[in-house]
Each structure stands twice: as C-alpha cells, then as structure tokens.
Amino acid sequence: MIITLNSNPLDISGIDDNVNVLELVNLVEDSLKGSGATVMRVVLDGKEYSAEDTEKLENLKLIDYEKADVISETAADVIQDAFCDSPDILIHLEEVAKNISSELRLGKIKEAMEKYLELVNGLEWFITIINGADLAFAKKMADSSYENERQELISKVKEQISAAEAAQESEDWVGVADIVEYEFCEIFNNGRNFIAKLMKA
C-alpha cells in the first residue's frame, strides 16, 4: 500500500493487519509537532475522512486500502481555505437573513427563530475567520487600513448581535427584522468586500 503526507510519499514501517487508520493519523500528528501544522483529514482510496472522526477511523483497517493520503494544514492554511469558501457562505447567510426578516415581519416568529440559530452560528464563524486573518495574510494585515477595517467589522458584528438580542428580549420583532435584514446583510456584504481585497492584494 502507498501512504503519503500531502501527496508526498511517507515511509512507515511496522504496518501489519491490525493497524487502524487512527493510529496512522496519531503517528503523523506526533511527527508534525512544532511545525504549526495539524492533520485535517485522510483520503483512503479516494474517500475523504475528517481527522476528528476518531471513532470511525479507529474501526478502519489500514491494510484494507491501497492508498492512504494524510492531509495536514497549518492554521494559516485553514484560514485561507475558509477565506476562499467565504463568498458563497456569506451569500448564503445573506439569504438566510432575508428569509428570517421576512418571516418576522409576517409574524412567523417560530419559523424565523429556527433559522436564526444558523445565522448566529454563521456570524460566529465569520468573526473567527476575520480574527484569523493575520495568520493567513500576515503581511497584508500589517497595513493599518486593513487592520482598522477588520476591527470595524468585528466591532459591528458584536454591536448588532447585542442589539438583536435586546430586541428579541423585548419581543420587538420588527426591530429584530430590521437588524437582520439591514445590519447583518451589510456586515456580510462588507465582509465579502474585505475578504476580496485581502485575497487580491
């Protein structure tokens, strides 16, 4: 069988019938200590498995596969990947926001609140990747204009999440709808522009 790390051949001895995939992942993880990289996933004969799916990986015998490619990434890689995926995600979150606001204005509070959780999770993900921008784009983030813009975005997200929570507590559903439709959507739009600038520059 062939074992690779990020498509580069790995020479590992001592693989017998009893070795499972999780043991391979742990072995590679140990060898990456200090490099800033971490194992993200394993591709076994073309099928991808998350490194966090430890239970599944424990039940897979390495000997059953012809090829195992261990994929590792640094934090910067992860953030960069997220930035690449972000335009689609932010567009999706904008649509969710508009649906929520429409339902709130029509009095469909329950339906709106069920989707609201997705929106809040999306905003938290957004803050995480924006916060990690200096990991993935260290040079560019040294420019103070980018840093100011980033801080503005983060501050606005926190401010509007608080405002939405306050409106929710007062059962001011039109107020919540306004924040979701206008403020959050503006944040997502500004976020897309910021990310596009960072990735272009």
Binding site: S102, L104, R105, L106, G107, A167, S170, E171, D172, W173, V174, G175, A177, D178, E181, Y182
Partner: protein, 639 residues
C-alpha cells in the same frame, strides 16, 4: 422631515362620522409620550410604542416602512375583492393594499380595525393620509370593543358581492392586542357564517319576503310599532316560550304568572298554549311561509293576545288574527325606504328562528330576568317539537298504514340529528346543524346581554351564560318582581299611530315611475346593442372611436345607471338574489380583465336588461296592488 398633517387629514376624516367625532374627542386627551415618532433611514416616518413596562416595540421598519408594508402585502394578499386590516399603524399597509385592491364600485372593500385610537391619531398628526381617507373603499373602526366592531363590520360588509376576503395582520399591533384580535376573528367568523346563511336564505325565499312586504304594507303601515314596548318592562320578569319538546314539562306553571310576568311566545307554541288554557301576552310571527301561517288556524277567535309581526310575515296571519297587532322591522325589506314616513317600527333582531325575535323583544322591553322555556334546540325524548305545532301536523300527514308517528319521528331524528350533547340529566340528545347554529347564536347573545338569562327548559342543550333553574323555582324566586302586565300593554294602544299615508303613496308612485322609466330606456337601447354586437363585438373598448364609442357609452351607461340605483337594486336583489350576485361577480371579472372585448360587456349588459324586464313585470304588479289597497282604504287621491 416631520410635519403636522392633522388638519387636512381631519377634513377628509369628516366623511367617517362616528370615527371623526371619536377622534375629535380623543384629541383633547392625546399624549404622545408613548408614541415615539422618528425618521426612518429612507426619510419616511416610523413609529415605536413604549408600553407600561418601558419596553419599546417598533411599529414599522426604522429603515424602509413602505417597502416593509409592500413585502407584507405581497405575501398575504392574493387579489381578493375585500380585505380586513388588523392594525393601522401609520397606514403603510393600507396604502400598499389600496394600490392592488380592485375598485368594484359596490361599497366598502377595505376594513381597517385599530384597537388603539391614539395610534390612529399619531398617524393623522404625522403623515399625509388624505388620499387614503378619501378612498370610498375604506371603512375604519377604532377602539377595542369586539362586539360593536364585529356588528358594525357585519352591517357594512356586503356578502353578495364578495369574491374573496383577505385578513392582513399588522404584527406589532397583534403583539399588543393578541387576545382582542383572537376574539374579533372568532366573532367575524361567526358573523360570516351567519351572514352567508342569511344570504343563502335570501336566495331561497327572497321572493316571498319581498312580496309579503307589499301585500302587508297598506294594512301594517298603520299598526303601532313594537318600539312602544321598549323599556316599558324594566326589571320585570319575562318568559320566552319556545316550542321545543320540553315545553310540556312546565307549561302549566305559566298559569301562576299570567298578568304578573310578561309572556312572549313563538308562533309554533301558540296553539299548544291556547289548547292548555294559557294565553301569552304577545305572540311573535316572522316566517314568510304559508306553512307557518297554519299555526294561527283554529285559534282565530282569540282577541286578547297581541301579535308582533314584520312586513315579511305571511299575509294570511294578519288576515286571520283578530287580536291587536304591533309591527316591527328586522331592518331589511321596505323599512329603509319608509321608516321616516311613520312612527318608529322598533327594530328587532331576527335570525333563523322566531325565538331570536321573541328574545330580542324581551330584551328591549327591559325585562329582567329573561326566562326561557321549551328552549330545547334539540330532539329530546324522541320528540321534535311540542304538541300542537303545525310542524307536528306535517309529520302526521306523512303517515301511512305501514308507519307510525314514533317511526317517522325516529327516522327524522336519525337522519338529521348529526350532533350529540348530554343534557343535565345525563341523557344523550341529538341536534341538527340549524339548531346548533341557533345555540351558538343565543349563547353569544347571552354573553353580552345585561339582563339575567334563566334557562328553565329543564332539558335541551343551551348551557353557556345562562342560569339553569326549573320554572317553578324561577317563579318562586322572582314572583314579587312581577307587576300588572295588562295595564302596561293597554297603554301601548292608547294613542293613535302616526303614519303619513299620502307620502307612502307618493313614494310607491315614484318607484313605479322609476321602474317604468328604466324599462322604456332598455327598449330604446336594444337596437343599439344589437347593432354594436354585430359590428364591434370582437374589438376592445380602447380600439373604438366616434359613434361606436358613443353608442357603447349609452348601453353600458344604462347598465351602470340601473346598477347604481340602490333602491332598484335592493328590490331587484330581493326578487332575484342569485342573479344579482352572479352579475356582480361577472362585472368584477370584466373590470379586472385588461383585454376584455366589447362583446363581453354587451352580453353582461343585455343579460341585465332581460333580468330587469322580468323584475319590472313582477314588481309593477306588486306596486299597483299596494297602491290600490292604500287608496281604497286611506288615501283620496285625485286620479
């Protein structure tokens, strides 16, 4: 930029008389502290309301209120002909829907209900609502009294021309007044079912109602109105005698309170009472059918009982009844046109069962408590009615050698008795759709009646908002509240009836001329219709000019004149409600169709003309007979 638009809005509001007066009163105490008006991001006015706990609720978007309103309307309105808006706010939803609501030209189509009148005043002060207020399709109800709003809406709402009803809730208003709106919706659903029932009844028997009006008019115009009895029996007990099977349980008890309590009977219980030696003080008759008049056959010699009837009551009843007579009105028929020609009739509610009329009469006399007997509204003890009513006679007529009255009764109950209830004794009783509707109606009325309501039927299914007692217990408890009933009733007939027969004759004569006038115009327009049909039927209105356009204007103009004459249409609809309803819907569809052909309009007009001619033939005969009887009896007219 915020400015005060109040004066110009009030000028337009003056056409909504009740609302205008109400608003003017409230302006004196208006305090804007809790009504936070501000400028939205797009420059429009927006509103927040601060409740008693200091919580601020946004009434409209702080960014784009009109866009928000359009979103709501786009989602909730599907081109229905009528709409109810629950919560006015600053008027954005109303404005949005008025742009889409078709203009039918048949009266009110958009009903605005605002439970907080100060919100409405805030809107008047801060936005230009003149266009909205001038729109004839709009009606406004302010305040949070479910019953009066419900009844006003029901009176304003013309079911005969409805092609869908949209209910649009303004969410922030609903958040504040959730319970009010729930009760109002329940009331409106109930009234809607009732009104549709009335419309269906009218479609079925409108002809009888209308005909009876004219036959009874010459005689009944001179009867004292039941209004003479209003408030004459304050806090005196009244007993409403209905004709349910349980009447036999306690009818005899009435002898104890003859001339002590006011006794009002329905027509179907009348013969049975008399055959048991009990005379009611008043017997109510409302039914227009011949069959109901049979309840007065065999008891013609009775002269001490007062008959309370309506113009639509079957004429035979007035002919054979020899006692004193009072006239009432249920508000329809000829009443709107002749009410100012004589002393007040006295308006009573009547819906479905004559017991509703008897109850409303008891209520308006001021009687308290109001006691019901024979009020089963169900098939109790395997029986349909008390003995002696014509309804029982009809059942007997169905018998043959292989059936029995018990068999016929049981079959009737098993076919019609869809609903089951438990009575006070744990027995299962059956009722049908109609009686269940009456039960709901009565219980709704009882809830809002000041007098105490006692159900002394000792059976049946009416349980809510009543006190249940036996008749004997009731009489024991309230005996001392009784008084000399016959003295009060004598005073009712002690003075002459004010009735202007000459004006009545003139009115009938003018209606006759009006009807004949339209007949003549139709005959003149017919050849024009035929010629247009041949030449331009396939074209659209906007394509024709000159003579064709003029001639089309004549035909459609005559059609519109007939439809817009409310007196004619009211009589026309009474005789042919199905056609008038169908025609209204046809016209709505044509008006909403951008590509309608001239031929389609011509056909609708032509069908109206034919129907009108049939109506005129029938109506002119009724008018001629009424005028003849009037002139014979009361009026010396120089012919």
């Amino acid at each position: 930029m915020l400015s005060d638009y109040l004066q110009s809005n009030l000028n337009c509001l003056s056409s909504y008389s009740g609302v205008f007066d109400f608003v003017n009163k409230l302006l004196k105490v208006y305090n804007s502290n809790n009504y936070i008006v501000s400028e939205a991001k797009n420059g429009e006015v927006t509103l927040g309301f601060k409740d008693s706990s200091g919580r601020l609720i946004s009434y409209h978007s702080k960014y784009n209120p009109s866009f928000e309103a359009n979103q709501v309307v786009d989602n909730l309105y599907e081109k229905e002909s009528h709409a109810v808006i629950l919560g006015f706010g600053l008027g954005y939803i109303t404005e949005s829907i008025l742009k889409k609501l078709p203009n039918k030209g048949f009266g009110k189509q958009l009903f605005i209900i605002e439970p907080d009148p100060f919100i409405f005043i805030t809107a008047l002060k801060n936005r230009d609502l003149t266009k909205l207020l001038k729109d004839n399709r709009v009606e406004i109800y302010l305040g949070n009294d479910v019953d009066s709003i419900g009844e006003k809406w029901n009176a304003d709402f013309d079911w005969s021309v409805v092609d869908g009803l949209s209910i649009i809730e303004h969410q922030p208003t609903k958040t504040r007044f959730n319970q009010f709106f729930s009760k109002l919706m329940e009331k409106m659903r109930y009234l809607a079912n009732r009104s549709r029932g009335n419309l269906i009844t009218l479609m079925g028997v409108g002809d009888e109602f209308h005909r009876n009006n004219f036959i009874n008019l010459p005689e009944a115009f001179g009867f004292p109105g039941v209004e003479r009895l209003f408030d004459k029996f304050i806090d005196i007990p009244a007993i409403v005698v209905a004709a349910g099977p349980s009447l036999d349980k306690n009818l005899d008890e009435l002898k104890r309170v003859k001339d002590k309590f006011l006794i009002i009977a329905v027509d179907t219980a009348y013969r049975h009472m008399l055959s048991n030696g009990i005379k009611p003080d008043i017997v109510c008759a409302a039914d227009s059918s011949y069959e109901n008049s049979l309840d007065f056959v065999g008891v013609e010699d009775e002269k001490e009982v007062i008959l309370a009837g309506e113009l639509m009551t079957h004429p035979d009843i007035y002919k054979i009844f020899r006692g004193p007579k009072l006239i009432t009105t249920f508000g329809g028929g000829l009443y709107p046109q002749i009410s100012n020609l004589r002393e007040p009739f006295g308006k009573l509610i009547c819906w479905g069962s004559v017991a509703t009329m008897a109850f409303d009469l008891a209520r308006k006399t001021g009687a308290n408590p109001i006691v019901f007997i024979g009020f089963d509204l169900s098939f109790s003890d395997g029986k349909l009615h008390t003995k002696g009513s014509y309804s029982e006679d009809i059942l007997y007529e169905g018998l043959h050698s292989f059936s029995s009255i018990e068999n016929e009764t049981a079959n009737y109950i098993s076919e019609r008795g869809r609903f089951q209830f438990l009575d006070d004794y744990g027995n299962v009783v059956y009722t049908d759709n109609n009686m269940k509707s009456y039960k709901n109606w009565f219980e709704d009325q009882f809830q809002h009646t000041q007098a105490k309501i006692i159900n002394a039927t000792e059976g049946g299914i009416v349980n809510k908002y009543v006190v249940k007692m036996t008749l004997s217990e009731t009489i024991d408890k309230y005996f001392d509240k009784g008084c000399n009933i016959s003295n009060i009733l004598k005073e009712t007939f002690a003075y002459p009836v004010k009735a202007d027969y000459k004006s009545l004759y003139r009115f009938l004569s003018s209606m006759k001329e009006l009807i004949k006038g339209f007949e003549k115009k139709i005959s003149l327009v017919r050849p024009i219709y035929s010629s247009l049909k041949e030449r331009v039927a396939d074209r659209e209105v906007k394509e024709i000019k000159g003579k064709d356009s003029e001639q089309l204007g004549l035909v459609i103009g005559l059609h519109d004149q007939i439809c817009e004459n409310s007196s004619i249409i009211q009589w026309f609809a009474a005789l042919n409600a199905k056609y008038v309803t169908k025609h209204s819907l046809e016209v709505i569809r044509l008006r909403n169709n951008a590509n309608v052909k001239i031929g389609q309009w011509l056909d609708v007009a032509n069908r109206l003309f034919f129907a009108y001619e049939n109506f005129a033939t029938y109506q002119l005969k009724l008018l001629d007979k009424a005028m003849f009887d009037l002139s014979e009896k009361y009026v010396k007219i120089n012919m």
